[in-house]
């Protein structure tokens, strides 16, 4: 019968008060840890996905939206800009790379992004299988996409119009997967990349008026389309091997597309020198229908907006933990009243004051460490369940199976709370006058 076991038995013997303290502490830990896990991963995503882009030139609208859309692939486009008119950025002597991106189509709600190979280099993406796209309607896809939809090299797919799960598809012209990228933990993982020309060809004669518009159709039409889609798949598979891509056809179509109608959603700019920021944004902002947004500034502002909310959550968690500590303290002090005879008896049986002191302190420690462990377990489990939901909505992958160094600080905090809550009761037990206690029958 060591003290640890007695402490444990004492905790179990009072399931209600122990349970309450345990649950409060656990809740506090869960709130703190889920906040930490989420913000840590969001920060990491934002860092990984920044790609060193200094400036985004997009259609006039919200700057934050254009950054979220074009860099982080979260929000919808602000509109389109004419590609030919972005020459000022591409030719600017202080610009290192000016990468066009065109966003507006999807494959099963995952974005098809039309761009140049520089975009892949921005994120140091590497080809795992196959190659990067070359001809129109060739696509190189992210690792998550390949996994999720089991798309292999040579597979064909139809792009959907708009960014949501759309019903209207470009069925006549199918994309062919020519390459799969290595996992990079950046936006690349969840994108299907293709050339700008692909999008221009698909939307030729089709007045594609900025992105993000969902096509609303009736349920009947939807069902009919679904049936057609299934046929399409059979069709695809049947013709898979003897279908030839006639690139000359595409050239012909391209020739007919006026440069005035060749549009992109944004230009992602990296500077050769930071001095570029004194001229380039000004030019962009003075160009009709365009604006310049600096990701660093926009994201800093976004975080500034979120910060107080995170702080409030933190304060709430602290409050719960303080309540947990108080509840533990009160529960132990109360139980001590009933247990003064027990403590006297232990002393009679040969337990030293230090032993009695340690027993009470250990009860506090056991409770707080147990609360911590349950909190950590449920936080990670919850985060993992939550991550599916986040992935569905943002196409960012989150996980519950990462471990933060802050969890060690939390453990230290939990131990401290156990000690603080149990210290006074333990001192009281230590000071128990056994003779007096036993005389007051």
């Amino acid at each position: 019968m060591n003290i640890l076991k007695i402490s444990w038995k004492n905790i179990v013997y009072r399931p209600l008060s122990s349970g309450l303290s345990l649950m409060l502490l656990m809740s506090g830990i869960i709130i703190i840890l889920i906040t930490l896990l989420t913000s840590h991963q969001i920060n990491e995503k934002f860092r990984n996905n920044a790609g060193g882009v200094d400036l985004i030139i997009a259609a006039e609208g919200s700057r934050l939206q254009s950054v979220l859309c074009n860099l982080y692939q979260i929000d919808k486009p602000t509109g389109n800009i004419n590609y030919a008119r972005t020459g000022f950025a591409r030719m600017h002597p202080m610009v290192d790379k000016a990468i066009p991106v065109s966003i507006g189509d999807n494959y099963k709600s995952y974005r098809i992004l039309a761009t140049t190979h520089d975009y892949v280099n921005l994120y140091k993406g590497k080809v795992a299988k196959g190659k990067l796209w070359k001809k129109p309607l060739e696509a190189t896809i992210g690792s998550e996409i390949a996994k999720k939809f089991n798309l292999k090299i040579g597979a064909k797919f139809a792009g959907g119009h708009g960014l949501g799960e759309s019903i209207e598809e470009h069925k006549k012209q199918l994309y062919t997967v020519v390459g799969i990228l290595e996992q990079s933990n950046t936006v690349l993982d969840n994108l299907l990349l293709t050339s700008l020309e692909s999008v221009w060809i698909l939307h030729a004669g089709h007045n594609h008026n900025s992105g993000g518009n969902f096509d609303i159709i009736s349920k009947e039409e939807h069902d009919a389309n679904l049936a057609k889609k299934k046929e399409q798949v059979h069709h695809q598979e049947a013709h898979h091997h003897h279908e030839k891509t006639d690139s000359k056809d595409y050239d012909a179509i391209l020739k007919e597309i006026d440069f005035k109608t060749r549009e992109v959603t944004a230009m992602l700019i990296t500077y050769k020198t930071t001095r570029a920021r004194f001229t380039l944004p000004g030019i962009a902002n003075n160009t009709d229908g365009m604006m310049a947004a600096e990701p660093a500034i926009e994201i800093a502002q976004l975080f500034e907006l979120i910060e107080p909310a995170i702080q409030i959550v933190g304060i709430m968690a602290m409050l719960i933990i303080i309540i947990a500590s108080a509840s533990m303290f009160i529960a132990m002090l109360n139980s001590l009243k009933d247990r003064q005879y027990e403590i006297a008896i232990m002393r009679i049986m040969g337990a030293s004051t230090i032993k009695v002191f340690s027993m009470i302190l250990l009860e506090g420690l056991l409770l707080s460490v147990l609360g911590y462990m349950l909190g950590v377990l449920f936080s990670h489990l919850g985060m993992e369940l939550f991550s599916d939901y986040l992935a569905k909505n943002y196409h960012y992958s989150f996980t519950g199976w990462i471990w933060l160094k802050e969890e060690w600080y939390l453990l230290e905090g939990a131990i401290l709370i156990g000690i603080i809550s149990a210290l006074y009761p333990a001192i009281k037990a230590y000071r128990t006058d056994i003779s007096k206690t036993l005389s007051n029958k």
């Binding site: 019968m1 038995k9 027990e342 008896i345 232990m346 002393r347 040969g350 032993k355």
Partner: protein, 208 residues
């Protein structure tokens, strides 16, 4: 075996209790009688080292309790003295068996289920081995507390009004158990009481 010399205790500044000198052989059994408030419990606490005397000394088996302090005294008490109280108290979170294990380990002995079972069988409460102490009747509790006092085979057993909360039948049973068990373990038995029902059972009596 047990010897007190000139034992005095200042209860408050005005009230000083002084006790007659006593000396008992190993294995002797005695009653210490006195009316309420004459310091019976105080004497018992002095004998067991729970209280320090203001003057005088207590020797148990040649050891001067005044010379032991802190955890040494606690340990000595656990090993050498078994105490039975009027109202028995236990660690409620533990079963009878675990309470007795605790008594063994706190006194520095190994857990010994065989000796616990033997003792409980002698006290005819072996069936309560795995029962929580809250579920015992008053008489059963007193038997378990006797078992706890005896479990480490102490040299000295002190009992403070062990029978005053019991009816006549239980009173006789408990006294007989104390006497036979003390004899069996060759322990000195001192019972502090005002319960006259016990007078006839003891030859050796000290009047306070």
């Amino acid at each position: 075996m047990l010897k007190t010399i000139n034992l005095k205790y200042n209860y408050t500044n005005e009230v000083q209790l002084s006790f007659p000198n006593m000396e008992f052989e190993q294995g002797s059994q005695a009653l210490i009688l006195g009316r309420s408030g004459c310091g019976k419990t105080t004497l018992l606490h002095l004998l067991s080292g729970l209280l320090k005397p203001s003057e005088g000394a207590v020797f148990i088996g040649g050891t001067d309790l005044n010379l032991l302090s802190g955890s040494k005294l606690d340990f000595f008490r656990g090993q050498e003295i078994g105490i039975v109280f009027q109202t028995p108290h236990f660690i409620d979170a533990l079963t009878v068996k675990e309470n007795l294990f605790l008594a063994q380990t706190l006194a520095g002995n190994k857990k010994d289920l065989a000796s616990i079972s033997n003792l409980l069988a002698d006290l005819s409460i072996l069936d309560k081995l795995n029962v929580g102490t809250k579920e015992l009747s008053q008489g059963q509790k007193q038997r378990v507390s006797i078992a706890r006092a005896l479990i480490n085979s102490p040299k000295l057993i002190l009992a403070d009004e062990p029978t005053s909360a019991l009816d006549d039948d239980n009173c006789v049973a408990v006294v007989n158990l104390l006497k036979t068990q003390a004899k069996k373990h060759n322990a000195t038995l001192l019972i502090v009481t005002h319960d006259n029902r016990l007078s006839s059972s003891f030859d050796l009596k000290v009047q306070l």
